[in-house]
Amino acid sequence: MTIPAWILNVFAAVMLAVAAASAARLAARRPWQRGRGAAVADIDVAHLLMGVAMAGTLTTGLRTLPDGAWAVVFGVLTAWFGCQVARNGRREGIRALSGARCAPHLVHSAAMLYMFAAVATPAASGPGAAGMGGMGGSGMQTLGLPILALIFAFLLVGYCVWDLDQLSGPGVTGHYSVALPRVGPGGPALAGIPAVTGIGTRAAATAPAGGVVGGNTSTAPPAATAQEAPPAASETTARAASPVLAPWVTTSCRIAMGVTMAFMLIIMI
């Protein structure tokens, strides 16, 4: 009983595409430069790491780090997103657990942590075992506490359908906007002044001084606003015009990762 390698390879390829898209987003955003969105690069970093880790788990040839190292990485990410959710939760209560903010990323990170921390050594690894390709066979990797795998699978599927619904709704803005990033009349986004654009948006585009990216209503952190000088207009335009920065790219990546992660958890039960 094995899962055909080509199926695992397809999932691995999707994860590599997710990692590539996340890397492209990071490159377009340049978070290593001050004022380039370093404070919010965590999601792209998380997606990049998850994509690489899952691809490596699905196909041995793409394996990069040992399971223990990945467990540490995702432990840190889980703690990070846990703090974000706790902070949001204090303000919004249960509402912080829905939607497109940190809660889905917390679930994704925690699921990855569980996957790498609870994986059991294959009982009988054959010479042909290849990553999860081997997991489908007699040397199948399994997870301890399988009920957690089931719970995570339910949560991941739940977030997937929610994301799909929100992504496909007419008139959405913000996290689910399908609008390409564009620059508001006042320049780049970090101005601390609300602005709205986007396809079918409810509010008129109003960006008196702040720029808008991705059709989101953006209110930049005051600290960033105070510290950062706007980048050159041409540079900002080039960055903002990058299609990979559109919000739907990240949401689509999350949907793909959610399905793949649920698949991995289920076949490792």
Binding site: M1, T173, V213, V259, F263
Partner: protein, 337 residues
């Protein structure tokens, strides 16, 4: 997600209550939520279908086993399909799994909700016959405790009841009545739950050790804690097959009739339906035996709960809920037909 949107959100804690800065994410109405739950079930089924066992000849043999006990006219197509699966296990199963994934994605993707729901009905009927042997409802040993009449036929029923259209006239008393009308919806509910009561009283269930053996049998292959739970539940009904069957059937009849009651009693009946479905899912179906491996769906408990939620009586303004323009899809969600 835009980084700037995230920045905006994070900053909202300092700037004040979250408003538009969070992005417009109007909550979908009750029917859309149930549609999404159905989409989730299909998505989960698709993922389950990718398990290693499904790519083996054992899956085909499992399908062939559902022909046993069914009339020949029902069983022969099952045997033909099982043979096809056995000979082309990888290709056929990959198609099965992908179709179910796409059904889930399609229902969740608003512009595709109608075709996806329609396709899910056709697919569910096919699977119910060729994959589940009509839920074994024509065989003597069937029982609601172990999942009769089959999860997938409940998916089809849900797809019909959650169809994105509204009948003209007064506001529907519950979500399930919006597309087909209250009389039809109540009739379907009555048939379903009376059918379950009928199955509960079949000889196999009335036998002294009938229910005990069914429940104890679910412990096989489950994790220790769940196996212990199953064994304890089985011990409770040991040698009590007749009594337990009558109690279960009485509860199911109450549920069936309850949907015709007004207000609070109706809510009580639907709540009882949810409770019964949850008990069946945990103790009779062991969470669909997913933890034991080789399961193709979470069994009937979850869809029964979803179905019951679709019959939860609306408070005052009907089940239509608030007019949420973002929730109104181009496919006609919320539109009158």
């Amino acid at each position: 997600m835009s980084d700037f949107a995230v920045a905006a959100h994070r900053d909202a804690g300092r700037a004040g209550p979250a408003t538009e800065a969070d992005g417009v994410r109007a909550a979908p109405d009750a029917r859309r939520v149930l549609q999404l739950a159905l989409a989730g079930l299909w998505l989960l089924d698709g993922v389950l279908q990718y398990q290693a066992f499904m790519f083996s000849k054992g899956f085909g043999q499992m399908l062939a086993g559902t022909a046993s006990g069914n009339p020949g006219v029902v069983g022969r197509p099952i045997t033909w399909n099982a043979s096809l699966v056995q000979h082309h296990a990888v290709l056929v199963n990959a198609i099965f799994a992908t179709v179910q994934l796409l059904l889930g994605i399609g229902i969740a993707w608003r512009p595709a909700v109608r075709p996806a729901l329609a396709a899910s009905i056709a697919w569910a009927l096919g699977v119910w016959w060729l994959g589940e042997g009509l839920g074994m409802v024509l065989t003597p040993g069937t029982s609601p405790v172990t999942g009769a009449p089959g999860a997938v036929i409940l998916y089809a029923l849900l797809a019909v009841l959650l169809w994105p259209a509204d009948r003209p006239g007064p506001a529907a008393p519950f979500v399930a009545a919006r597309a087909v009308g209250a009389p039809v919806a109540r009739g379907l509910w009555l048939v379903l739950w009376l059918g379950l009561a009928y199955f509960a009283l079949q000889p196999a269930n009335r036998a002294p050790q009938g229910l005990h053996d069914m429940i104890a049998g679910m412990a096989h292959g489950e994790p220790g804690w769940l196996a212990a739970l199953e064994r304890n539940a089985a011990a409770l009904v040991a040698h009590q097959g007749l009594t337990a069957s009558i109690v279960l059937a009485a509860a199911l009849v109450l549920v069936a009739a309850g949907v015709y009651l007004p207000g609070r009693p109706a809510r009580g009946a639907v709540a009882l339906a949810i409770l019964v479905a949850a008990v069946l899912w945990v103790f009779g179906e062991a969470f669909g035996a997913i933890l034991a491996g080789g399961s193709t769906d979470p069994n009937s408990g979850l869809p029964l709960i979803l179905l019951a939620l679709a019959y939860w009586p609306a408070r005052t303004a009907g089940a239509r809920g608030p007019d949420l323009s973002p929730a109104v899809s181009p496919a006609g969600e919320g539109a009158r037909s």
